[in-house]
Amino acid sequence: MKKLHFLEVEGNTKGFYTFLGIFGLISLIGVLAAYYMEHHGHYVTGMSNQVVWGTPHVFAIFLIVAASGALNVASISSVFAKTAYKPLARLSGMLAMALLAGGLVVLLLDLGRPDRLIVAMTKFNFVSIFTWNIFLYTGFMGIVAIYLWTMMDRPYNNLTKKAGMLAFIWRLILTTGTGSIFGFLISREAYDTALLAPMFIIMSFSFGLAFFMLVLMASYKYTDRPLGDYVINRLKNLLGVFVAAVLYFVIVYHITNLYSADHRGISAFVLSSGGIYTFLFWVVQIGLGTILPLLLLYGPTGKNRTMIGLASVLIIIGAFAQLYIIIIGGQAYPMVMFPGMEVSSSFYDGVVASYAPSLPEVLLGLGGVGVTLLLVTIAVAALKFLPASLADEVVDPHAK
């Protein structure tokens, strides 16, 4: 086994500036879209008094959930002492921070009054899970930053394990907190279940790793650095396990709902009568986002890099469908005020609320992804996050 050697990505190249330009532009468009929404008010969006959280929230929650999942690789290396993952730990920590930053930007810019950020940072209601999340997010940034520092600064290497443990525990709480944003909404059938928080944790594993693999493969490809099968195979096997675990939770979620009289409605809605939501569930979330990636990862294509990349992309598309169903479908489904009765009103009681994503919402959401990738691009060039080589002879302890 050769010695592991970390190296910055060469910053003064055409390729680097191209990526910087593309991601910068996507981020800028996102900010402009947000400005447009704020300037006119949310009437220019698909959101309404029935569907109050729209597409930006789907993106924001995806990024925040993926952030904690992206940290997995580092956790496996320092907490569970699996040396095979050690070369990837720095990227894992840095990506986690970048994803969280991207998600928070979207969340902030979608507020009705983003200019009152200072209010949100100074006036706290400690009963609110939102308030706790503000602390969980800032804490996560700080802890992961320290964790990265212990990894990258040799004299502090001996603290990596402790910092890694803290980051690991913190991320579990963080995802529980994110899941609980929905879990506390007793009034809505889709969210009124204790399963939501653990389901979000397992979703974070899968979404975060899929994103991590794409970033890893792309950065090694475009910097012409060697990336061996040893690393990729381990990661893709792990990814497959996570995807299957999410599927398991989804099945349990719907089965428990179907067996409970108060929650049967929402599952019947998603599974069979929900129109677009039913389509998204079966075709996108389950078909394209779960079954197909599993086949690609474990079937005869399992060694093909392009197919592994495709599987990761599909998992992310499935993730968006899943969050869209949870967040938007959960609101579109009518709230039950009079159980067993037929209700109607001028305020859309008793009917499935309509919602169509508007362009500015989508652009704002994509802007968040842009911010994440922009930060990653800058980070890999500025500091030693990526090993110069991840070829098998460098990372595989059994290689000759």
Partner: protein, 245 residues
């Protein structure tokens, strides 16, 4: 520490709503000089001895739309120019309920139910969504950041988000783009010793009063006939109760 926060909170409450009523004072000093027994002394914090509530008798044959109109007029609602129908503010709406098996149907007005344990207040990150000591739940629109979490949490769909810049507002009901709002039980009127607008036009079908005072009309009616809460199973103990549902 706690008491300091409480004090700050109380003065904020008084500032926000006291200043509104104080504006009324200069317009019509007589109102304040001959304070009725019901009018609140604005120099003192809102008292927790009182809990304002409403009892709505759905069996009475009244046109509930009149209540909606009175609310719209009182708070200057309906002035959106761009918003879609599903984006416009509604503080109070008429809900038609039909029993599928028996065919029995009825209508009732639904507004913020002024919950004793309001989920909208619990979830609000900034404390903008708040419950006054007298049980009235409302949004401090100078503190609301427009996250809309309270709308997600309210089991009665009582809240609306302002989707555009509003002009032509009532000084008694400040509203603003990007903030959430809902029925505030006409605090501006209640603090002046008047009835909420919907109650005034309800031909007696809505009784307003102090739930904590056993001698009040509302308490007597509740003691005699009982009242029902919407989604009582959630145990939020709303201050708005119904008869005949």
């Amino acid at each position: 520490m706690t008491s300091k926060i409480e004090k700050e909170d109380l003065s904020r409450r008084n500032f926000v709503f006291g200043s509104i009523a104080a504006a009324g004072l200069t317009v019509a000093p007589g109102v304040m000089l001959y304070q009725t027994a019901n009018a609140r002394d604005l120099s003192k914090p809102v008292s927790s001895k009182v809990r304002w509530g409403m009892l709505i008798d759905t069996t009475k044959d009244v046109d509930w739309n009149k209540c909606v109109e009175a609310c719209v007029k009182e708070h200057g609602l309906g002035n959106e120019e761009h918003s879609r129908a599903d984006q416009r503010t509604q503080y109070i709406r008429v809900v038609d309920v039909k029993n599928k098996t028996t065919g029995y149907s009825m209508s009732l007005p639904v507004m913020c139910q002024h919950c004793e344990k309001p989920p909208c207040v619990d979830v609000c990150p900034t404390g903008a969504s708040m419950k006054r000591e007298d049980g009235i739940v409302l949004v401090d629109r100078h503190r609301c950041i427009g996250c809309r979490y309270c709308m997600m949490a309210c089991p009665y769909k009582a809240r609306s988000f302002v989707h555009e810049t509003l002009t032509d507002q009532k000084t008694t009901t400040p509203r603003g783009k990007g903030c959430v709002e809902s029925c505030n039980m006409c605090v501006n009127r209640v603090d002046n010793g008047q009835l909420p607008a919907c109650v005034e036009v309800s031909e007696g079908a809505i009784v307003f009063g102090d739930l904590n005072d056993p001698e009040s009309d509302i308490s007597r009616l509740l003691a005699k006939h009982g009242g029902k809460q919407i989604r009582a199973d959630l145990k939020l103990n709303p201050g708005v109760q119904y008869q005949g549902i």
